[in-house]
């Protein structure tokens, strides 16, 4: 059952062919069997998940009306607060912290009866593209355990790709859902900024962060998208409008007459040959399905990466100031009458990893008086130019496309000492975040040179998320029929090494 899609699981649950407790236990067993290799989870909440599953089963037995995903298990990125469950954002500075409240996403998942299996690994505070910046060690790509599953939501993508969970929640600040989806051969969507509440999402860069869904199919992803989206009075930047009909669009995959714009700046040099080949093939396929392919020019995209690495660190330098040992989380150096200031400094020094410190320092510098206009101010101007580029492009195309990432999954350790090389991996995903629009990555096949998954990115204007699903479902159907089955089924079987993680009981991580 764990190898089925979430849609099939939901169907089996509604027909009472299987109980949520059985389904949840099957996934917990899978986690126990393979997570020692994959290390997708930071915390498995067996007890909480089984209790939630039992409650869903009871509700269903009593004849209550159930949400579409009721009883289906899910893996939650550790960046989202879940009441009473350890939440660390991948950082040592939050080790052992248990939120006294649920993030809005978690509240919505619970309302929908989605069973939360546990918290997945991530780059510390979502800063990174490989999960290697996690304070708790990296996650490994189920396709090749020597490689990264991408990041920062690498734990979530790896969990879905290794059948530890049919669905997962990630967060995407510069590509942190789409890039790991691409590198693990699954579907990931970054919804329009403001479409999913950020309340309870531990902030990295407030103006760029957005939680979103992972699934193994476009339809599965749409079901999860619909479950978590919607206006929230607790988030001032939340959009007060109807949720786009993404599930309906995913069921109606159709690109006939759709204008698809290929962004000139997001291909060619710097893109791995196999990535480019699969991308071009997919384009041809879309054309054969009746889409009209046009090329669009987005000249400002050249500066997107630079703008991102000023805006995100600037915001994070302020967002992460609250981790000061005063109210929660790690506290070190509190001895011998040390001043509050000294304790703050010692704690932040001990609790934050290298990449987090690097970005805090960068952002502090960029915001400081005398540099603000040159750095933060200029970056905001670029942001405006990128929004204008998109507006022009969307005037001639319904959706825009590119490869999701320039390369397939790279080796753990390969880029960890070269931040610039790693940052370049986000070149195709970052413009979406800067413009606040939506994007999807779905599998386009395996690169012939390394047999690793390639991601195909689709972008749509703000609050037109349904277009992603409409185009994505059409491409997925065509590719699946060409391959004779979903790409993920071609992943090498995991040998299975038991998880080193203790399965969780009430007392928290042991």
């Amino acid at each position: 059952m764990i190898f089925k899609t979430a849609t099939e699981m939901a169907d089996a649950l509604s027909k009472k062919d299987i109980s949520s407790v059985e389904l949840t236990q099957a996934h917990l067993d899978r986690i126990a069997a393979v997570d020692g290799d994959v290390k997708a989870f930071l915390h498995v909440d067996s007890e909480g998940a089984l209790a939630q599953a039992a409650a869903v089963d009871a509700d269903r037995a009593s004849g209550k009306a159930m949400s579409p995903l009721a009883g289906v298990p899910l893996a939650l990125k550790d960046v989202l607060a879940q009441k009473g469950v350890p939440t660390t954002a991948g950082s040592k500075i939050l080790q052992g912290w248990k939120p006294p409240y649920d993030s809005t996403v978690v509240a919505k998942l619970k309302d929908a009866g989605v069973v939360i299996l546990g918290k997945t690994n991530m780059d510390e505070f979502a800063m990174g593209s490989s999960t290697e910046n996690s304070g708790y060690g990296p996650t490994f790509n189920p396709w090749d355990l020597t490689r990264t599953p991408g990041g920062s939501s690498g734990g979530s993508s790896a969990a879905v790709a290794s059948f530890e969970a049919p669905l997962a929640i990630g967060s995407d600040t510069g590509g942190s859902i789409r890039q790991p989806a691409a590198l693990t051969g699954i579907v990931g969507v970054r919804p329009t900024y403001g479409a999913v509440s950020r309340y309870g999402l531990i902030a990295y860069s407030s103006s760029l962060d957005q939680a979103g869904p992972f699934g193994r199919t476009v339809l599965d992803t749409a079901l999860l998208h619909e479950a978590i989206a919607g206006h929230d009075a607790h988030d001032a930047t939340s959009i007060n409008a109807a949720v786009p009909a993404v599930v309906a669009a995913a069921k109606d995959g159709n690109v006939k007459g759709m204008k698809i714009g290929v962004i000139k700046q997001l291909q060619g040099e710097g893109y791995q040959k196999g990535v480019q080949t699969r991308f071009t093939e997919s384009l041809d396929l879309l054309a054969s399905l009746g889409a009209e392919i046009v090329e669009v020019d987005c000249p400002s995209f050249e500066y997107a990466l630079a703008a991102y690495y000023l805006i995100a660190p600037s915001e994070c330098s302020s967002n992460l100031a609250r981790f000061d040992a005063m109210r929660y989380g790690l506290r070190t150096g509190d001895e011998g009458g040390a001043s509050a200031e000294a304790v703050m400094a010692a704690t932040r020094d001990a609790g934050f990893g290298r990449e987090v410190k690097r970005r805090i320092i960068l952002g502090t510098y960029a915001l400081s008086s005398g540099y603000y206009d040159a750095y933060y101010g200029s970056a905001q101007k670029i942001r405006t130019l990128i929004i204008q580029d998109y507006a022009k492009a969307f005037a001639v195309a319904d959706v825009l496309v590119s490869p999701t990432a320039p390369t397939t999954a790279y080796k753990i350790g390969e880029k960890i000492d070269d931040p610039m090389a790693m940052y370049l991996g986000d070149v195709a995903t970052i413009p979406v975040n800067l413009a606040g629009i939506c994007g999807m990555s779905l599998p386009a096949g395996l690169a012939e040179e390394d047999n690793l998954p390639v991601g195909f990115q689709i972008m749509a204007p703000a609050m037109q998320d349904q277009r992603l699903y409409q185009a994505g479902a059409a491409l997925e159907a065509a590719l699946t029929s060409k391959w004779g089955g979903a790409l993920i089924t071609k992943a090498p079987a995991l040998q299975g090494r038991p998880s080193a993680l203790p399965t969780m009981s009430k007392g928290g991580a042991k």
Partner: protein, 499 residues
């Protein structure tokens, strides 16, 4: 030789700058729904948002925006059609996020003014204080530093933090520099804060209690030589917790600056703390290494874009301006200039008006509040509003005197009883057994007794020397324990002595 105040004024021009922080009296905090009750148990009015738990987000309290716009309108400001919140970044344990949500270069209200009038030897003088901006921000928590000599963070053994106040909406009202007040600088500063307080009270947007910190004034002052073209270096005095302290702090700083300048020194640009007991200031945080707050627009909040029609609705609903109200009350109550100035100075207008609205005679109400009751408040060193006596009590008292049930003298005893917490005037009268002796028989007995005891004096009155009657009347009053009506005693006494 240090210069005295007049010599300082002859040589230097003081320049003022006033920053007033007002805690709004909204039911909930600026960015979350926590309660704002003053004096609640520490850390009972907190939530994930105002404790800055990971993931929590602020959402603006619309009521706070409304109050701020009302303040801006009442201070003759322009209201920005678009303004933003900014983050002011610095680390301090009582600030949960380690940044304060404030407004930086885009305040919601700007370019206003407040007119004040002060009473001088040369008659009333008018000053216009220009307001640069009115902006919204959130308050910090409170630190209590335990141990150490100073009660400050340095040297303390440990500190306790109370986040109840964290996130309470604050409005900051900043003046432009105020030159040209000369020797009246301290009084002008006080009058400005008093006027602001009255305006804010009239708007009903704040408790404006300086002693509880719901209205706080940071007083900036500098001295410049009369012929100078550049401003002198200013100091900023915090912890100024009463109107009187505003005046004392400015005066004290003028004297301190002058002394430094006269001895060839340089005034340090710094924050100073006012000491209520000595009237002096002590050095606080030096501003020489100006802190870099790294302001930037808060990405968690959306711009404030008040609807123009809404602003006009708020403008139309503004209450009467305090200056206009004062003029009206002065006329209605027919109060002479000097007395009215005394009423304003003693801050009894509201309470007198409340008493009059309960049916009391305006002159009598004024006399009670400005006289006996003010005197008690002064003796006790408390604000008149803190006494147990209310406008209703005074109105009742005036009624009792008018109906002849109490004499003025007895009424003073009743006031004392009410202030002592013995109840309403009627209750005090009943409890203390106070009553006017109006029984002619009892009075006559006392008169006869007194005239017999002081036969010489009685004889003088009988002979037509009326001033001598005073001593006899006094003795009769004493005999009746002050419960007699003096006029009645006089009438009966003179009749008894054939006058």
């Amino acid at each position: 030789m240090a210069l005295n105040y007049d010599e300082i004024i002859a040589k230097y021009d003081p320049v003022l700058g006033l920053e007033v922080h007002v805690e709004l009296n909204t039911e909930s905090k600026m960015f979350c729904s926590c309660a704002t009750t003053f004096g609640a148990e520490p850390n009972t009015q907190t939530c994930p948002v105002c404790l800055a738990l990971p993931g929590a987000l602020p959402v603006v309290n619309e009521k706070a925006i409304e109050s701020t716009i009302k303040i801006g309108l009442a201070l003759n400001c322009s209201i920005a059609p678009y303004s933003r919140f900014a983050r002011k970044n610095y680390f301090y344990p009582d600030m949960p996020k380690n940044f304060q949500i404030s407004q930086y270069d885009e305040p919601i209200c700007f370019d206003g003014y407040v007119d004040v009038e002060i009473d001088t030897d040369e008659g009333p003088k008018h000053f216009r204080i220009e307001v640069e901006r009115v902006h919204m921000e959130e308050d910090t928590g409170k630190s209590l530093h335990v141990g150490g000599a100073t009660g400050r963070i340095h040297g303390a053994d440990y500190s306790l933090l109370d986040y109840n106040r964290a996130g309470i909406p604050l409005v900051e009202i900043v003046t432009k520099i105020v030159p040209g007040t000369g020797k009246y600088a301290p009084e002008v500063a006080k009058a400005y804060v008093a006027e602001l307080r009255d305006i804010l009270r009239g708007l009903g947007v704040s408790d404006v209690k300086m002693e509880q910190g719901s209205l706080r004034c940071d007083a900036n002052v500098s001295l410049m030589l009369k012929d100078a073209t550049e401003l002198g270096t200013r100091s900023e005095t915090k912890n100024v917790n009463s109107l009187r302290s505003v005046e004392r702090a400015i005066r004290g700083e003028m004297l301190r600056h002058a002394e430094i300048l006269e001895t060839g020194g340089k005034v340090k640009q710094e924050t100073r703390h006012f000491q209520e007991d000595t009237g002096l200031t002590r050095s606080g945080r030096s501003k020489e290494q100006a802190e870099d707050y790294r302001y930037f627009p808060d990405p968690d909040l959306v711009p404030v874009k008040p609807d123009a029609a809404w602003i006009e609705t708020l403008r139309a609903g503004l209450p009467e301006r305090p200056s206009i109200r004062r003029k009206r009350l002065k006329e209605q109550w027919a109060v002479p200039d000097k007395e009215f100035a005394a009423m304003v100075n003693a801050d009894v207008l509201d309470i007198v008006e409340a008493t009059v609205l309960l049916g009391a005679d305006a002159t009598k109400a004024r006399t009670w509040w400005l006289g006996e009751i003010s005197r008690v408040a002064n003796d006790k060193g408390v604000d008149i509003a803190e006494l147990a006596i209310t406008p209703a009590h005074v109105a009742e008292l005036i009624k009792l005197v008018a109906s002849g049930e109490l004499t003025d003298k007895l009424a003073r005893q009743v006031v004392e009883g009410v202030i002592a917490g013995e109840g309403t005037p009627s209750e005090v009268v009943a409890k203390r057994g106070i009553k006017v002796v109006s029984d002619d028989g009892a009075l006559m007995a006392a008169i006869e007794k007194v005239c017999a005891a002081q036969a010489d004096t009685a004889e003088k009155v009988r002979g037509g020397h009326l001033p001598a009657a005073g001593a006899l009347i006094g003795a009769v009053m004493k005999e009746t324990a002050g419960q007699a009506d003096a006029a009645k005693v006089r009438e009966l006494l003179l009749k008894f002595l054939g006058q």
